[in-house]
Point group: C2
Chain length 333, copies 2
């Protein structure tokens, strides 16, 4: 009940109204991604699974929803100066593409260790790449300099109400496409996707469970949930390159209040789930994209009696931008 | 006009009525597979492309449509004795699954060189594997023996009106999902899929162009079309293991009369198209499944002035059953 009251009192950076507005705003630009099912994977999980394939979204990830919502929310004068972001890749590609659609420049600060295919996506969509070192400090410093030089608007990858609202449209579509869903499993990194998904889903149906899936080597969200405050990690170590960010002050309250549990999985479980996505579902996902399946198949979720009645689980396959070479190495030929 | 009259006079093993009946018969068993689009691939092709993702079909390929239609067409007495086939794999898995749904045995004669994942699919779906040598003669001999011993019904992978009618439902769905399509590109092997697709599409709209995509190392259909009679090859050599069969006496007349042209591509073009499917479309296809994209991107199609007005092309991604190891070797790390 506390959670529902909180949603109603709009103490968060987004709510069901801003998410519905986002849906109207971005609807003609995005792909309505399909929901796939597999009886083989249902058998493995012991539940019904509904895969929301955001890897088929434009730019190869759900990030295009938030980027589109943010960019088309700007007034003309703001927009004309362009947008800036620093990102490990998917948000950057998404922002480049949305900016191109609006006809404005996108300045993208990218760390030198970003995956090749994510950088290629930025370039393909017309983003202007500005390299930084791999540290968050270097990324932020360079972004600040670009902001000063251009007067562009900084669009944070997740700690922004417009971004969270855009990502929340995943929930609206998913619950329309598979209304039997009683549970949603979402990858967690900075918390933009899961915040939007949880705010929308719990407003539509407060009994829906929302879980986060997080890699053990970057389990800051699980630690934060336990500690009751934002914990950041000095370093992360996971194959899921898209899940290394820390919660923001706008996403943390949603994660704290509305996410039922955080399921932490090992990299080897992520790799196994990726393999199942390729071999059974025939969908090319990146490691971060496969983690929801890994979580649903993990012992900590399967054997937890509290989640026994999660019968129909929506799993967000959040992205598909993976270098084939990296994929192969991780599958350990 | 000749083609249309022929369709109307029902000189073929299937027609629009039998295909619509198949759709009603199999509708509750199959996946209605999504149609994906990519502006990046549209740019590469210089046309609008609409990817009908039969790799997401149950069993990982379109074959389940035909198998389901054939098996649910049998009367109870026939069905009880089971079904037999010899197949390189996708038809076998499809038949096993359809038989399981009807609760009857499926005896599957598989050549010893079939891809591992295709054999695993047969076993997963409860088919009874009976090994043969790699030659067509050995496959047929062993199938005949099984028929005699069990009284089961032989279901040929493609040279059967019920199978052709089932495969034709791909056309019905595709044209409903993307009505702007003026052209359909279909992989060709034994001709079951393209016969069903062409019969349905040209009955619905005689101006739709239907093309076959065929690997150079197994180009019997192109040779047959040139010669005006069925040509079989002494041996085939292509990475597209699903496209090595020869036309049958029921599929050949449809290919002869209703297929506008056969686009022959090199294996290296197939591999490049597979890579695009993985990296851009995020769909895991087998080599045979990617050949339609290879054909659309080939010079012989792109530069042919006769096909310049093929603006919106439906491409059937026919299957996704590929061993990850084989995939990687073919992508030539």
């Amino acid at each position: 009940m506390e959670a529902e009251n909180e949603i109603r009192s709009k103490r968060y950076a987004a709510d069901i109204s801003s998410i519905r507005e986002a849906q109207v705003r971005i609807n003609s630009f995005i792909h309505k991604t399909p929901v796939l099912t597999s009886e083989t994977l249902n058998s493995l999980a012991g539940r019904g699974l509904f895969f929301k394939c955001e890897c088929f979204q434009k730019g190869g990830a759900f990030k295009f929803r938030g980027a589109c919502n943010a960019i088309f929310s700007l007034d003309d004068e703001q927009a004309a100066k362009g947008v800036v972001t620093h990102s490990s890749g998917n948000h950057a590609a998404a922002l480049s593409l949305a900016a191109k659609l609006r006809g404005i420049p996108a300045y993208i600060v990218i760390p030198e260790n970003a995956p090749r295919c994510k950088v290629e996506n930025v370039i393909r969509y017309g983003g202007q790449v500005i390299w930084s070192r791999a540290t968050m400090q270097s990324r932020e410093d360079i972004a600040t300099r670009v902001l000063q030089e251009t007067g562009a608007v900084l669009l944070h990858p997740y700690n922004d109400g417009r971004i969270i609202s855009g990502q929340g449209t995943v929930s609206l579509e998913l619950l329309e496409q598979a209304p039997q869903i009683d549970t949603i499993m979402v990858p967690i990194s900075g918390g933009g996707l899961i915040s939007g998904v949880a705010l929308a889903a719990k407003s539509i149906n407060p009994s829906i469970r929302v879980f986060a899936a997080e890699p053990k080597g970057a389990n800051d969200a699980a630690q934060s949930k336990n500690a009751g405050r934002i914990i950041t990690l000095p370093e992360t170590n996971t194959i899921a390159d898209g899940l290394r960010a820390s919660l923001g002050d706008l996403t943390w309250p949603v994660v704290r209040d509305l996410v039922d549990d955080i399921i932490v999985v090992e990299d080897k479980e992520i790799i196994e789930a990726m393999k199942l996505c390729y071999e059974i579902l025939k969908v090319a996902v990146e490691p971060s994209g496969a983690i929801g399946l890994a979580a649903v198949l993990s012992d900590s979720f399967k054997k937890n009696p509290a989640w026994k009645n999660c019968r129909n689980v929506g799993i967000v396959l959040s992205g598909g931008n993976v270098d084939l070479g990296v994929l192969w190495d991780s599958l350990g030929k």
